[in-house]
Symmetry: C2
Subunit: 135 residues, 2 copies
Amino acid sequence: MTVAQQVEAANLAMYQAFESADVDAMARVWDDVDPGAVVCVHPGWPMLRGRAHVLRSWSAVMAGTDYIQFFLTDVRISVLGDTAVVTCTENVLTEVSETGQNGQVVATNVLVRRHDGWRVQVHHGSPVLGQLVDE
Amino acid sequence: MTVAQQVEAANLAMYQAFESADVDAMARVWDDVDPGAVVCVHPGWPMLRGRAHVLRSWSAVMAGTDYIQFFLTDVRISVLGDTAVVTCTENVLTEVSETGQNGQVVATNVLVRRHDGWRVQVHHGSPVLGQLVDE
């Protein structure tokens, strides 16, 4: 695999862990070398910092999601040394329920190269809203 | 200045360019070495790609904003080689108008080191909503 393919696979693993609601797989996706630098923004959420805090949020989000499927489009990967930035659009399909909704999320993910592969350090997802919001 | 201080200053320059609605200053903030890798997500917007596209969007946003002021909090800077990731909360004060609203935005900004300093390659801002949105 090329470096870009390795990064793409590591990025995809985060979405697959969410789809399968696999807490262990989600824990493997995220960096554990510098746990304090881990950052996650779920769409519409404030910023969560720290590996433990972020993994707890994923457990809660996954526990509250009956069904979800991602189709990633417009995926661009930029690798600079041991850092990679992935930007993409998440086309999200969920069970329509009280909390569920389909729609588009745009994401910026930062991955870092560790001795055993690429790990996610930052995930920032945000909703594409019909109405614009000031910066 | 330390490297972290240089990155912090380059990050702040983007917000200052917006506050002063200075199109030339905004153009200097963004990377022009790899213009195709430039990415910007204004809060609630889809992903905009390419330096020209992104600068046009800033011109439009700044033209439509009478008054805006940022107070950045929870600023964290992570430097890995020639790449820096800045995560922060933007506390936004705008003139209350039809389109204006005050509130919090969380941002992930990726900067790259060029021969003449740090430039913004990715800005991803997202609204902190009262109601949660699925990933």
